[in-house]
């Protein structure tokens, strides 16, 4: 019976009997006539609450502008809410319609829903060479502030395995949308690969604490700059060694622009950043060094085909601690190689490029790069791989090209 009901609904037909004339007053409705009585009202304005309009793509912002001055169309608003949700990657966007300031006019508010308390798995990775890495956190939000406390065990990003806690406080709006701030505190216990220990036992440390207050300024629409200070203390493993400090001014200039979104046939995304970190005696650091990194990523998607090109170059000068040295041969860069085979101490110079092509969920990629300390050591490495990727989840196998032993590396996980 229920099946017949649903079938009849889908087919839009009445079964057997028909409906009678109404005893209550009714009038014939024209085919194609508006079914929402509010469609006669004009949209006076559109607001995005709980997020920044500048975080949306140009095409979506243009579409939101088109709503103003037009008749209210609740179905169109639902579709726009869905697109906002998709672009901002948030849990939900609600549409609120209220009476406007003029008769016959309405105001439309898109409200970005954020859970007051949320548990999140920020990263999860199994790498057949490096083992498990993961990060989980709990975030609570109140009055525009968010507090996050997380547990981390990461053997992928650096030459060390960081295990410990990460606490963050963030506020996106400091009186103006153009200024935000964040504080981060990390307390990690370190574990080291034997090849790193064998290379230079005096450079390794048992624990590391970092405190980083940082401000974010939106300069112009696609440009923003982060600047702050990072105070790091680490206890060397050498018996009798003192705790050392590495205090640096940190800054990043970031560009991010996108055209189209997931619901469009074509989508482009361009990101670029330049970071400059300088550890100086002025901040009572034990060793001076400067670290510069330039990164770029361009993504083009047409229908189900997607190409992503990434590039990174970096150099450090001075006595750079291990946590600030460059690493290739992990789950995100020069996949297929082992970072410990390339440089177990991390390098002071790096150049890296990658091309990913995916069709629906299937991907192939090519990575190339070099990490080195002295020019004669520089050697370009390459790798290729195939995988399956869907909304942050990824399963891939990568092969080092030209390695003495071409052992493939398997990756499985999320957001790595």
């Amino acid at each position: 019976m229920k099946l017949a009901f649903i079938f009849a609904l889908a087919a839009g037909i009445s079964l057997f009997g028909g409906a009678s004339d109404s005893a209550l007053p009714s009038e014939p409705a024209a085919d194609g006539a508006q079914t929402n009585i509010n469609a006669r009202y004009i949209v006076e304005g559109v607001n995005l609450l709980g997020s920044e309009t500048k975080a949306l793509s140009r095409s979506l912002r243009a579409e939101l502008k088109q709503v103003v001055g037009a008749n209210l169309d609740s179905r169109r608003l639902e579709k726009l809410a869905s697109r906002i949700k998709e672009e901002l990657r948030v849990t939900g966007v609600k549409v609120h319609v209220a009476k406007g300031t003029m008769p016959g006019h309405v105001l439309v508010n898109f409200e970005v829903a954020k859970k007051p308390v949320d548990l999140k798995v920020a990263k999860f990775l199994y790498d057949s060479k490096g083992g498990w890495s993961g990060e989980a956190s709990a975030t609570t939000r109140a009055a525009g502030n968010s507090f996050t406390l997380g547990l981390v065990s990461d053997d992928d990003a650096l030459v060390e395995r960081d295990t410990g806690i990460r606490a963050k406080f963030e506020r996106d709006n400091l009186g103006t949308d153009w200024l935000g701030m964040r504080f981060e505190f990390d307390d990690f216990h370190e574990m080291w690969n034997q090849s790193t220990v064998a290379e230079d036992p005096s450079g390794i440390y048992r624990s590391r604490q970092t405190f980083m207050p940082e401000a974010r300024v939106f300069l112009a629409e696609p440009l923003e700059v982060d600047f702050g200070v990072r105070f790091a203390r680490f206890r060397l493993s050498t018996p009798g060694a003192m705790t050392e400090s590495s205090n640096a001014v940190v800054s990043t200039l970031r560009y991010h622009q996108r055209w189209g979104s997931g619901s469009d046939v074509q989508e482009q995304d361009l990101e670029g950043s330049y970071s400059l970190d300088a550890a100086m005696h002025l901040l009572q650091t034990d060793a001076d060094y400067v670290r510069q990194t330039a990164q770029a990523r361009y993504m083009f998607r047409h229908d189900r085909s997607r190409v992503e090109v990434s590039f990174m170059a970096g150099r450090t000068g001075g006595e750079t601690p291990l946590f600030d040295r460059f690493v290739l041969g992990n789950a995100s860069m020069l996949r297929g190689w082992s970072k410990f085979d390339l440089d177990p101490m991390g390098g002071s110079r790096v150049v890296y490029g990658s091309v990913d092509y995916s069709y629906r969920y299937y991907q192939v990629f090519y990575d190339t790069g070099a990490v080195w300390n002295l020019a004669p050591e520089r050697e370009q490495k390459q790798s290729v791989g195939v995988g399956f990727k869907k909304e942050g989840f990824q399963l891939a196998v990568a092969f080092p090209v030209g390695a003495p032993r071409a052992i493939p590396v398997f990756f499985a996980g999320m957001n790595f």
Partner: protein, 190 residues
């Protein structure tokens, strides 16, 4: 006569949420104590959205396996946020509409369109009737994209995603127990 009166009273008590009336060879349905706009549909209506309701009426005769008549229709309801009155558009042919109604009147209008033809049924034949009302949910994003962001996967959103139901939620089913057209007449007469 007295027995007919008693059985009619019993029917009325058993099926107090669903009331049947038989006029001009048509079985009419009403449910004055039931507010099918209440809850999430009402929240959407007050937010200037239109809410489609699918209503089905069914009549079984002889036994509960033999469907004698059934009717399905779709009613799109909206709430005028300035005038604070309801409008309804009946989607299936003949397409009709009613406006400037209270919530109760709008619901009554919908049900008034759902009567069933009883031509050919004898007065003593055992019958069963059912009224089903479903509110269509707004279309939902079919992916778990909202759960996954650059900062990770939200467990709360994942739970929400896997707890979702389909786009059509049956939220009301009212059954009228076994009756005959003669009993309905006597109930009305009493």
């Amino acid at each position: 006569m007295f027995a007919a009166f008693l059985s009619g009273m019993a029917l009325a008590m058993l099926a107090e949420d669903l009331i049947l009336d038989h006029r001009n060879n048509r079985l009419e349905f009403s449910a004055p104590r039931t507010d099918f706009f209440a809850g999430s549909p009402m929240a959407r209506l007050k937010n200037a959205a239109e809410v489609p309701f699918v209503i089905q009426t069914t009549l079984w005769s002889g036994n509960q396996h033999h469907v004698y008549r059934t009717a399905v229709d779709r009613f799109v309801v909206s709430f005028d946020i300035f005038e604070e009155t309801y409008s309804v558009v009946k989607s299936e042919a003949p397409r009709k509409s009613a406006s400037h109604l209270t919530a109760k009147a709008a619901q009554a209008w919908c049900l008034s369109q759902m009567s069933l033809d009883t031509t050919g049924l004898s007065g003593g034949e055992p019958l069963w009737a059912r009224l089903e009302i479903s509110a269509e949910d707004p279309p939902r994003d079919g992916s778990i994209l909202g759960s996954v962001s650059d900062s990770g996967i939200s467990l709360g959103s994942l739970i929400d995603f896997f707890s979702r139901t389909g786009g059509l939620q049956t939220h009301l089913k009212l059954d009228y127990p076994a009756f005959t057209l003669d009993q309905l007449k006597s109930t009305r007469g009493s």
